[in-house]
């Protein structure tokens, strides 16, 4: 089976399955063959559900033959971050501590994917407990498909790799502070963090309850919308869910950006930490959106550079609280980078957490105030292209080293986590050395449809999504 088929969008593959041009079993076997050939190096997967997926694909094929009513993802092989429970499969959360933790039920998002017809292909690699900063991955070092010496991003590392390298038709990740958008940016994929409260998080190993959000990583914006439509909506098991039915994200997808008011965030686009390649790509993307009919103006949000520090004080403190007993009793089982990050957070005083909570409210107020006269905000997703893996594996040597590694990069994605807003990353260019760059588009709370609509318009007007990593 050709690479062209494996790289086709999930939407196109689903249409071919519905029209009986494509067998779900043959499609699954094509992805399994790619995993066998490429994943020894890329290490996107922790668990490949080979036999279970083949059985599901055979059932999907029989349903097509019978002429059953088919869901929008019928027969589509989807892999999910190994932070999400799939019944009968272990959920490691990327940690040795959970090596034997087998889920007994599907998370609601998995139930919804299955209801839409998806075939669950496997569980994807991640930084330990979705924290970021893992130095030695217990289930193999995930590698960037564009250059295996470079970081694929995290924490949904395997989701970004599998989407970009066509090791699945589409994937799910989870984004507490950028964990869907960072791997999307680094790997040249599309990653959408939904509005917090739109997608149920039950059955997802938690990190920070007020920011955890499950979202799709895919090769196209349409596929991101398709997956979001499948997994969004109220669920009684998650107390933080919005109680009304979600807006339709598919119908307005092709409506274009004419008339939309878009703010190019000055502090993140032209900030001192932004690589010129990332800046230039995003400025050029803003021009494309302008050409398509949007009104794009620069906007100043002076509090967003504080977002990384506020986020880490909140998310790391909550993580440390959750892990405290294990840190006491099973500390040696953690990766050294994870353990040291959690230990440091455990020692933060309550006053720092309180201050960060107020800073969060201030940052959210400023960002949301901008949305009273803007429909969308655009920024680089990351300050630059994917760094080398080796740069994150060395011990932290000074407090300046720690600050440079952990705070700056997070200020690009976390303003929208702090404000509970939706945000997407999609490719907007490549560096001279061939590494992808990401454009981030954020929108009003629960207006994921406009975010996806603008991303689709940009994607269709540019060639970046057509590029494939080398094999």
């Amino acid at each position: 089976m050709s690479a062209a088929l494996a790289f086709a969008s999930a939407a196109a593959l689903a249409a071919r399955i519905r029209s009986k041009e494509l067998s779900p079993v043959a499609l699954l076997e094509a992805y399994l063959a790619r995993i066998d050939r490429l994943d020894g190096t890329l290490r996107a997967y922790i668990t490949v559900c080979r036999e279970a997926a083949l059985a599901e694909a055979r059932r999907a094929e029989q349903a097509v033959a019978r002429g059953d009513r088919l869901g929008p993802l019928h027969g589509i092989p989807i892999a999910v971050k190994d932070q999400l429970d799939v019944a009968g499969v272990r959920t490691t959360a990327g940690s040795r501590l959970f090596a034997d933790r087998v889920a007994t039920t599907d998370a609601p998002v998995i139930q919804r994917l299955r209801a839409a017809g998806a075939v669950i292909l496997g569980k994807l690699n991640l930084t330990e407990f979705a924290l970021g900063g893992t130095q030695q991955f217990p289930y193999g070092q995930p590698r960037n498909p564009w250059n295996p010496d470079h970081d694929p991003g995290g924490s949904s590392s395997g989701s970004g790799i599998a989407a970009a390298a066509a090791l699945a038709a589409a994937t799910l990740g989870e984004d507490t502070g950028g964990s869907v958008r960072s791997p999307a940016s680094n790997c040249g994929a599309v990653g959408h963090r939904p509005t917090w409260g739109l997608v149920p998080r039950t059955g997802c190993v938690p990190l920070c309850a007020s920011m955890d959000a499950i979202g799709p990583l895919t090769r196209t914006v349409e596929d991101a919308a398709l997956l979001l439509a499948a997994i969004a909506g109220p669920d009684a098991t998650d107390p933080q869910m919005r109680r009304r039915a979600p807006d339709d994200v598919m119908a307005p997808l092709r409506d274009g950006v004419r008339g939309l008011r878009i703010g190019l965030v000055r502090e993140l686009t032209h900030g001192p930490d932004t690589d010129p390649a990332a800046r230039d790509a995003v400025v050029a993307a803003a021009e494309v959106l302008r050409t398509l009919g949007a009104r794009v103006d620069e906007v100043s949000l002076p509090l967003v550079p504080y977002a990384g520090a506020a986020f880490m004080a909140l998310a790391d403190s909550e993580g440390a609280g959750m892990h405290l007993q294990w840190l006491r009793e099973r500390g040696a089982e953690y990766d050294a980078g994870t353990r040291r990050r959690l230990l440091a957070a455990a020692l933060l005083p309550a006053g720092a957490y309180h201050q960060a909570t107020r800073a969060r409210a201030l940052i959210a107020r400023q960002v949301q105030a901008a949305m009273t006269h803007l429909d969308l905000l655009v920024t680089p997703t990351q300050p630059g292209p994917a760094p080398q893996i080796a740069s994150g594996q060395t011990p932290v040597r000074s407090k300046a080293d720690a600050g440079g590694r952990f705070f700056t990069r997070r200020s690009y994605t976390t303003p929208f986590n702090l404000a509970a807003m939706p945000a997407i990353s999609l490719p907007c260019g490549f560096t001279a050395s061939g590494l992808p760059l990401g454009l981030q588009i954020a929108g009003r709370r629960y207006d994921d449809a406009t975010v996806l609509r603008a991303a689709w318009a940009y994607e269709q007007a540019t060639p970046w999504h057509d590029r494939r990593p080398p094999e």
Binding site: W196, G197, S210, M211, Q240, M241, R242, R243, L303, Y306, G308, A309, A310, M312, A313, D316, L324, L327, R328, G331, A336, R339, R340, R341, L343, A344, A345, A346, L347, L348, A352, H354, Q355, A356, T357, R358, A359, R360, A361, L362, A364, R365, P395, V396, R397, S398, K399, A400, D401, A402, G403, F406, F407, A419, A420, R445, Y446
Partner: protein, 62 residues
């Protein structure tokens, strides 16, 4: 006012109070990380924090 950096001995004592016993290998890096976090958080103190309540966004915006 900038707070002085914590020393590894300070960090070991704080950790012990929580029942945590970082190894010697961990201790220096935890000290760097904690001091970096304190430095990164210090500018937040200059923001008008009293203007807002210390609460995350509610699931359903008002």
């Amino acid at each position: 006012m900038a707070l002085p950096d914590l020393t590894p001995a300070d960090v070991r004592a704080l950790a012990a109070a929580l029942g945590l016993a970082p190894t010697d290998d961990d201790l220096l890096e935890v000290t760097h990380r904690l001091n970096a976090m304190r430095d990164a958080l210090a500018p937040l103190g200059a923001l008008p924090l009293d203007e807002v309540e210390p609460a995350p966004p509610a699931p359903e915006p008002s």
